[in-house]
């Protein structure tokens, strides 16, 4: 599953459940079918309009990776 970064942020002040992940990058990705999904980024930081691919699904959370 591939898509384009619609928007992103790096979270520094997390809810209790994600304290161990900080800082993490959150994204909304526009998928190739036009729908949007909120997920996380693995590895290199991304910017708006970057192409990303689904890397893995961790308990229902989609993790995307930058397509180089």
């Amino acid at each position: 599953m591939k898509g384009t970064v619609y928007t992103e942020t790096v979270v520094w002040s997390p809810p209790e459940a994600f304290a161990k992940d900080v800082p993490y990058q959150l994204v909304i990705v526009t998928l190739e079918d036009g729908t949007r999904v909120t997920g996380r980024i693995l590895g290199d930081r991304v910017s708006i309009d970057d192409r990303v691919a689904l890397a893995e699904d961790r308990s229902g959370i989609p993790y995307f990776k930058l397509i180089l």
Partner: protein, 386 residues
């Protein structure tokens, strides 16, 4: 709809009050309001409470009669409204609808939130419940993160800058420093605003509103009955509430707060006014970017023009259209369930000429804009001098 007025208003100070419980805050605000309107508890035909998360913050449920009983109001319908940070805006909207429709002559509206007894991380978690728990929140979104993603997109599309966002924080802190009831009475410089601790990029701590305790109350009365009460009445010229998707990723364009635009348009139509007629406003600056978006959706400027507009000084206390003379949510404070009614109290105070050294010169028509979540609820109210 028959004409409706706000016949009384009362607020607690906003702040972190370790020794105060939720009910005592609500009772203080409502008692001040009833005294201002010279209204007896027996004259109140319905009690509408705005509260977002009392059950999560303090554990108490059944909050409306819990508070109205303490005011000596029994035998009347007493109900809590929940619409995230627009909870008391929604309660006020329903009160105006009911009085306007002739169902009641006098409805007491109160908004309250007691937030500071929880840690910041727990507060963030409770507030996140106003987002989509199954999607964005599960992935790690907080409200600062949602508005940070809106800000990033707005910067990308329109060239909005960090300096423009910081200008909102500098202005609202300057106003709040003059407000004796504000939570954080501290002037900040542009340099400080830009160097704040990061919360969720590009937002820093100075882009975010405060975690506060507080309550606010207004008495909504049929204009034809206003003479039976003692306060200086203020007309409700127009009001509307509209809705949108809760999840940010469901929206076609996250830089547009469609509910704010539609509720504003309906309120303008009802008031037979346009954006150009609005002399001053209290808007929902939960984050600096939200005030920039509000300028656009309320029609004060064209889409994308919000950044340059807030940077221009036009919305400062001495500007052509002052915005958030109370200090806004960033400085006055943001006890979320109280915010909508607190904005109405702030507009009433300006129209009555009671705002002291924050008094605006053109004070006959003011607008209040109250937002729930990342835009799924919007209430816009336009008030005017009699």
């Amino acid at each position: 709809m028959r004409p409706v007025v706000v016949a009384g208003a009362g607020k607690t100070s906003f702040g972190a009050f370790a020794g105060r419980d939720l009910r005592s805050l609500a009772v203080e605000a409502a008692t001040k309001c009833l005294a201002d309107a010279q209204c007896l508890p027996s004259q109140v035909e319905a009690f509408f409470l705005g509260n977002f998360a009392g059950p999560s913050f303090v554990g108490q449920n059944h909050l409306a009669p819990y508070i109205s009983g303490a005011l000596g109001i029994t035998g009347a319908p007493s109900t809590r409204f929940e619409a995230a940070c627009a909870s008391s805006g929604a309660a006020f909207f329903q009160a105006v609808q009911c009085v306007g429709a002739g169902i009641y002559d006098a409805v007491l509206v109160c908004g309250v939130e007691k937030m500071t007894s929880q840690t910041t991380a727990r507060v963030a978690e409770i507030l996140a419940g106003a987002g989509d728990l199954a999607g964005e929140v599960k992935a790690g979104a907080t409200f600062p993160a949602l508005f940070a993603m809106i800000a990033r997109r707005h910067m990308h599309l329109y060239g909005t800058t960090r300096e423009q966002m910081a200008a909102v924080a500098v202005k609202n802190h300057a106003n709040g420093a003059r407000n004796p009831q504000a939570h954080l009475r501290k002037i900040i410089t542009m340099e400080q605003a830009l160097a704040g601790k990061p919360v969720s990029d590009p937002l820093t701590v100075y882009d975010c509103s405060l975690i506060s305790d507080g309550a606010a109350s207004v008495l909504v009365v049929a204009a034809e009955k206003a003479a039976e009460f003692g306060g200086i009445p203020v007309r409700v010229l127009g009001i509307a509430q509209t809705s949108d998707y809760v999840a940010l990723d469901q929206k076609a364009d996250i830089t547009s707060l469609e509910a704010v635009r539609s509720s504003a348009q309906q309120a303008y139509r009802m008031a037979r006014l346009t954006a150009a007629d609005i002399e001053f406003a209290e808007v929902h600056d939960c984050f600096t970017i939200a005030e920039i978006l509000a300028m656009e959706e309320l029609g004060f400027v064209e889409k994308g023009g919000g950044g340059p507009y807030v940077f221009s000084g036009e919305t400062a206390l001495g500007g052509s259209r002052p915005v958030n003379t109370s200090g806004g949510l960033q400085s006055k404070g943001h006890p979320v369930g109280a915010t909508g009614v607190a904005q109405i109290c702030d507009i009433v105070q300006q129209i009555r000429g009671d705002a002291g050294d924050r008094q605006v010169k053109r004070n006959r028509i003011g607008l209040a804009q109250n937002l729930g979540g990342s835009g799924a609820t919007s209430v816009v109210s336009i008030l005017g001098a009699m």
